[in-house]
């Protein structure tokens, strides 16, 4: 085992999340996947164990944790189930913009309940016609006196319907394009805010992915996050901090599939020997393990860089997400291969890892968008 020089507190988070993953998640992961049901009992355990406090500052009831803390927790949970882990990580994604841009009043109002896990959060940017191109957002927010009126539809929103607290990006000034977007905190139950279609998915099936519909939804002006026109900045800064979380999810999924594959290879006997004695299998395992470790080293290093707070981290953050998710896809596919025919069957755990891995190459910016971010920044740095 590589030594990543984790602090005592980080080792505690690792130990705690591993225990929850083994005792409370592994036994139920397949059930929630098959039923496409939101894993509320598990979320409750995570809440009681203070895991939602990790990404909230201490003065608002959190443990003031770092991006690396969140990555460690997400990795360990994903090792048992990438889907339950995303229900957790998506609440972090919805909480981070408030932590980064909330004023004291907003922080006091929303963060303590989110830190306790009494409420979970969601972040809503994507629309049917605004995926990678966030500037194409059509949801509008028109200021009228002491409130804004929102109209439009968000879709593919993780934790949609289950979360209580939403950070929603809407256009306050369409003529300004991306600079005309603003971020709002909107609570479930606000009149004019309803939920639409719940998606049926290839993977991460126990997580909720749903439409948010705003119809003349009145939002008090105090719920504007940062300033008008800062919606795009809020989104980018949030993703800079949350992408390592997706990378950690991918890393955990890859490690989990590798664990299963190695165990199976030692048990499965063909031609009178465990298949782990065959070089063909050994070389696959060696490659898988090496790639997983390389992904971990990158994810942890990037998380530490972000925590150190030294300037722009968009490139590094994108690199971690890109690399770890590609590793997850490859390693989970190879894990299915090692399991052979059994790997393809739902009675065995690895096909789920492969299904859960795919989304990590797509969401929070497709891997093609990540490459754009990386390349643009490298070119920009050289031009200086």
């Amino acid at each position: 085992m590589m030594d990543y020089l984790l602090t005592d507190e980080q080792k505690m988070i690792q130990e705690l999340t591993r225990k929850i993953a083994d005792e409370k998640i592994r036994p139920v992961a397949a059930k929630y996947d098959a039923k496409e049901e939101f894993p509320w009992p598990v979320i409750k355990v995570l809440a009681e164990s203070d895991l939602f406090a990790i990404f909230v500052p201490e003065q608002y009831g959190g443990t003031g944790g770092s991006v690396l803390d969140l990555c460690i927790a997400t990795e360990e949970l994903s090792r048992a189930c990438g889907s339950i882990a995303v229900c957790y990580a998506a609440s972090a994604l919805g909480t981070i913009p408030i932590v980064l841009f909330g004023n004291d009043e907003q922080n006091k109002k929303y963060l303590p309940d989110l830190a306790k896990g009494k409420k979970i959060a969601a972040f809503a940017v994507t629309e049917p016609e605004a995926g990678s191109d966030a500037s194409a957002i059509k949801t509008t927010a028109v200021k009228k006196g002491d409130h804004y009126v929102l109209n439009g539809t968000k879709h593919f929103i993780t934790n949609g319907g289950e979360a209580e607290t939403y950070v929603v990006i809407a256009m306050t000034d369409k003529s300004k394009g991306a600079r005309g977007a603003s971020a709002f905190i909107i609570e479930k139950g606000t009149p004019g805010f309803t939920f639409g279609k719940k998606e049926e998915k290839l993977g991460i099936r126990s997580s909720s992915t749903r439409e948010l519909i705003f119809t003349d939804c009145k939002v008090p002006k105090e719920n504007l996050l940062a300033k008008e026109g800062m919606g795009f900045i809020v989104t980018m800064r949030t993703f800079d901090k949350s992408r390592p979380g997706v990378a950690a999810q991918a890393l955990g999924i890859a490690q989990g599939a590798l664990d299963h594959a190695v165990k199976y290879a030692r048990e499965r006997v063909q031609f009178g020997k465990p298949i782990s004695s065959f070089q063909g299998i050994q070389w696959m395992i060696a490659d898988m393990a090496t790639e997983v470790e390389a992904a971990r080293a990158l994810v942890y290093a990037v998380a530490r860089t972000i925590d150190a707070g030294n300037g722009s981290v968009s490139k590094e953050s994108a690199m971690a997400k890109l690399f770890a998710s590609d590793v997850a896809m490859k390693v989970t596919t190879d894990a299915v291969q090692i399991f052979g025919g059994y790997g393809y069957m739902r009675d065995y755990p690895v096909e789920k890892y492969m299904r859960d891995a795919k989304i990590t190459q797509i969401y929070e910016g497709t891997n093609q968008i990540q490459r754009n971010i990386i390349a643009l920044q490298i070119i920009k740095e050289l031009a200086k």
């Binding site: 988070i13 130990e15 705690l16 164990s49």
Partner: protein, 264 residues
Amino acid sequence: MNIIVCIKQVPETTEVRINPETNTLIRDGVKSIINPFDMYAIEEGVRLKEKFGGKVMVVTMGPPQAEAALKEAIAMGADEGILVSDRAFAGSDTWATSYTLSSAIKKIGKEFGSYDVILCGKQASDGDTAQVGPGISTHLDIPQVTYVKKIEEIKDSIARVERMTEEGFDIVEVHLPVLFTVVKEINEPRIPSLKGMMRAKSAKIISWSAKDMNCDPDNLGLNGSPTKVVKIFTPPPKVGGQILQGEPDVVAGKIIALLKDDIL
């Protein structure tokens, strides 16, 4: 309501190895955990505190490394951990152990105020005697209820509990202070919280020696243990036996004949 929970650190294994020369457990290389039955006692203690207020104090007798078990209990919500540790305790049987723990409990009563409920797991997974809990209540001269599966109510210094029996359960009413040993049916132990683990890490464990507790040396360790372990061995596996095959009525007849002629 002040609650005392007695716990034991045990090896995490079902295959306990014995040193044939000293007749004691070999602990080297085996991870130590809190006796699984004691986890239910800790959980019940924390639940009582959450319901009635007060403090949960966890006490264990053991070597210095048993501090880890106390810290784990603090991570689950206990307030204080007390380690009772002294070379003089070595070789204690269940009687000497319960004397020592009862001495600690008397000292807890003096230093932290009176206690209402003492909780123990029904037995330890290594010794399996189920004697220490009842022994403590005897030394303290307080009532005991063993195999408690539910604490129904505690009101006006009287507790009503359900006590598991082979056939079902008894409902017992008992005056406080009282000692309960609990079975696994009583609750589901919680997973510690992160903040609890952080608190446990910085928690100061209180450590008491035989002298601190004014123990009578004659009651401690090997001297205070009426049990003498002469030899511990693995019983030889059963050999022989007969398997009777055929129709049930025919086989039944054969069994009766065998019992009559050969065995009885």
